[in-house]
Symmetry: D2
Subunit: 245 residues, 4 copies
C-alpha cells in the first residue's frame, strides 16, 4: 500500500492540440511536464477537461491529497457540478495548487470571492520572482530569486483577498510587479497560487519552478485534522446552573 | 446636497411579522432599530426582502456607500441576480456590514468562498465581546468588553477565511468562544462581520452595539480610490530596447 | 483651541548641513519639505537630532498625535532613553510614519523585532510604486502607480515581520522589487513604513508622495480607544459559584 | 549521525526548587516533563537559567533546531548577551516555542516589539482551548478543543502584534478569552506562542498539550532556506543600458 501523497495534475489540454508552438514545447501536454517535475515522492495521476466528468470523479477526488490546476481558454467549459465538487473537497482538506492563467478558473474565483482580475502582456519579457518569505517551506532550496528569460507579464492590481502569506513577488522587464506566490487557507484546505507558466514558454521544465511546485505539493497536503463540529449544540451542563443528576 | 455617507439597512423582515415575541421587541422591524442607532451622521434608508428587487435596485445600490445586512430564515429567497449585483458593488468599493445570522447569507458566503458554518445554541446565555484590537476605529469609544445579558451562542470553529483583522472575540457562558468582529477587504470594498443580534433579544438597542455599528459604517465607507487598470496592457516603450525618438 | 491633528516631523538634519547637493534640494531641511507637503489640515511642528533631547521631550511627545521619522547616517546617535520614550508613546496610541532609510532607525527596529535589513543601490534608477490595496485610505486620490524618475533602489528580501497590510509594491529599473508601503499595528499605535525619499532626490516635493504621507498621517491618528486593563484581575462573582448576595 | 530534529528545552527551573507544590508535580523540573512529552522523534537536550551562560552557549544554540522556552519569575536574570544570541539565531532560522509566562521573557518581548502584557488570575479555573485553524499542522490529531480542568487565567487584551495565524483560542470559566496558540515569522525563524502551563498544575502531562508542543516543534524546524543577500548591491548589467561585452 502506497504511503505517498497522491497528487492529481489537472490540465485543460487544449492549446497543445491546436497550437503547434505549444505542442512543440509540451508534446504530451503541460500536465505531463508538471508531473515529471514532481519526481518520485508522490503518487501522480492526471486528469483533463475533455475526459468524462473532466477526469474528476468523486472516486478520483476522494483519492487525491493535492490537486494541481492549469487552465486558460476554456474555463467556462468546466461544469458547475465539478466546480462544486472540487470546492467541497478543498474545504474538506484537499490541497490545491492553481497555476498561472488558472487565476480565472471557476474554482479559484469561487474560493477567492473576488474577480481575480489582473493586467497582462505577451511580450517575451524577463521575469524575476523574488523570495519575500525566506523561511517558508515552499521556497526550500531556492535562491534569492528565480529568473525566467521569457514569460508573459502579469501586473498588479491582482484582485484577490489579502493572501495569508506572500512567498514570491515578480518583477517584469516592462515595469510591472506581481504577487506571484501566495498562500490561502479555506476551510481545512491549503491553497497555493503560483504565477509562472504561460503555454508558449518552457517554464515547467525550469528546475526552480519545479522545486517550488514540489515543495508546495508537500506543504498543501491535508493533516489529520480536528473535525470541527457545526450546527445546533447540545446544551452544556454548566449552563444556567443545571447540574447533572 | 447631502455630503453624509449614505447607509442602506437591509432586513429580511419576516420574523417581526410572524413572531409576536420578535415584534414586541422590534415593532417596526430590526432595520429601524439599527437605523435609529446610527444617529444623525448618516443619510439612512431601508430595504427589505419582500420589496421589488428586495429593495436593492441598481439605482438604490449606486447611491449606497455602506450596506448593512440582516437575514436569517429566508436566505434562499434572495435571488441570485441581486446577490450578483451586491457582490459587484462591494468589489467596486461599497462597504458591507453583515450582522449575526447573515453569516449564512448568499452574499457573505460568495464573498468568503467558504461554508461560513459554525455552532449555535439558543439558551439565553451571557455573552462578552472582548476587544482584541484596541487601536482600531471600529471600537472607538468602547470599553475593554461589551456585555450582553442574554444572546444566542455562536461557537468556533467558524469556517471563514482568516480575517484581515480580528477586532472582537466573544466569550459565552456555556463554554464557547467566537471571532465576533472581523474585517475583510474584497476588491475595493471593506466588509465587517459583527456577530450579535439574534431576533429574540433587544441587542440592537444596546448603546455599545450601536456604537460599533456606527463606527463600522464610517470605517467601511469607500475612498476616492485608485482605479486599477485590468486586462491587456499597452506595450511600454522601455520594453525590448525600443527607445522613444 | 485647535482641533487639528498634531503632527511632528522629526529629521536627523545632518546631510543638509554637510552635503551641498542635498542642501540645494532641501535648503531648509527634509523636514520642512515634508511639513510643507502636509498642507493646512494638520498642526505641524518639527524636531531634529541635534536639539536638546532630539527635540522629543515628554511634553512634545505627549502633544503629538502622529510622528514622522526621517533618519539615515546617525541612527546610533539617537539615545536609548528617547527611543524608549517614543516606543512607549507608539504603544500607547501615537501614530508613527517611518520614511526611507528610517528602516534602520532604533525605534523601527525595536518595534519590528527583526534586523530590518535589505538590499540597496544608488544608481539613479526609475521607481514605480504600484498600488496593491486600492481600497485603502492611504492611497486615496492616487493612480494605479506612482512613478519617480530617479531614486535609490531598495530590494527584497526586506527583513520585517509580515505587514498587516501591504499597500504599495515598488518596481526598480535594475531588476528588484520592494514592499514599499506597509502598515503595522503595535499596541494601540498604527505604523506606516513608506520607502521613497533618498536625500539626493527631490522626492518629497512629488505631489503623489506628499498625498500618501498626508493620507497616512490621517490614517495613523489615535482613536479614543478602549483602555485595556492589564495585570492581576479581580475575581469575578461568577467564579466557583459564589453568587452576589 | 542523527538526522533527528534537535530540540533544546530551556527552563528557568526555580519554582521547582523552592516551592513544594511545584516540585511535587514536576520533581525533575518542568523541562523534563516537556521533554518526555516530545517522544522519540527528536534529539532532546536541556538547559536552565543557573547553568553557565544559562546553558545556551554559542555551541549549543548552533546545534539547536528548535528552542522551547519556559520562564516566569526570573526573566530579568537572563542576561542581555544571551538574549541577543538567541534573537540572532531565531532570525537566522532556529524555531522558538514560547510557553505560558514566557510571554514576559526578554526574548519574546524583543521579537514582538510590544509590551506583551495581559490580564491574569489564579483561581483554579477551567480552560478550553478551541481550535480555530483546523487545517494547521500544529493541531494535527487534536479534537475540536482541549479542556484543562484547572489552569491560571490569561485574558485579553494580549498586547502582541497581530499573529500570522491564530490556531487556538481559550475560554475561561471566569469570563475571559485569550489568543492561546499563535504563530509568528521573524526573519527566517518560526515562532509559536502557546499559553497553558502554569507551574502549579500538571498541564505538561496532558496528552493533547504534549501533542500540540510536539507538532509545533516539527512545524518550527528550519528549512534549507534561501539565503537573502543584504546590503550594497552590485550594479546590474541591465542598468542604464550598459551591456556586457
Amino acid at each position: 500500500m502506497s504511503q505517498k501523497l497522491r497528487v492529481t495534475v489537472w490540465n485543460e489540454f487544449r492549446h497543445e492540440q491546436i497550437n503547434e508552438k505549444v505542442r512543440a514545447i509540451y508534446p504530451e501536454g503541460i500536465h505531463h511536464a508538471i508531473g515529471a517535475g514532481l519526481g518520485e515522492d508522490f503518487e501522480i495521476s492526471y486528469a483533463t477537461l475533455d475526459e468524462e466528468e473532466h477526469g474528476l470523479t468523486e472516486e478520483k477526488l476522494n483519492h487525491t491529497d493535492v490537486l494541481i490546476w492549469w487552465g486558460h481558454k476554456a474555463h467556462r467549459e468546466v461544469t458547475d457540478v465539478i466546480v462544486e465538487r472540487v470546492h467541497k473537497r478543498v474545504l474538506g482538506g484537499m490541497g490545491l495548487i492553481v497555476l498561472h492563467s488558472g487565476h480565472f478558473s471557476k474554482i479559484f474565483m469561487k474560493l477567492m470571492g473576488t474577480t481575480c482580475n489582473l493586467k497582462w502582456r505577451e511580450a517575451d519579457e524577463k521575469e524575476r520572482l523574488w523570495v519575500v518569505s525566506p523561511g517558508h517551506p515552499i521556497v526550500e532550496g531556492i535562491g534569492p530569486y528565480i529568473e525566467l528569460e521569457q514569460e508573459e507579464m502579469y501586473g498588479e492590481h491582482f484582485d484577490i483577498p489579502q493572501p495569508d502569506e506572500i512567498i514570491l513577488l515578480s518583477w517584469f522587464e516592462g515595469g510591472e510587479v506581481f504577487r506571484s506566490g501566495c498562500t490561502f487557507h479555506r476551510g481545512q484546505g491549503k491553497i497555493f497560487y503560483f504565477r509562472p507558466g504561460h503555454e508558449t514558454y518552457p517554464t515547467y521544465y525550469n528546475e526552480q519552478v519545479r522545486r517550488v511546485i514540489r515543495n508546495a505539493a508537500a506543504w498543501a497536503a491535508p493533516t489529520t485534522r480536528p473535525v470541527p463540529v457545526y450546527g445546533k449544540s447540545v446544551p452544556l451542563e454548566s449552563i444556567k446552573g443545571v447540574q447533572p443528576q
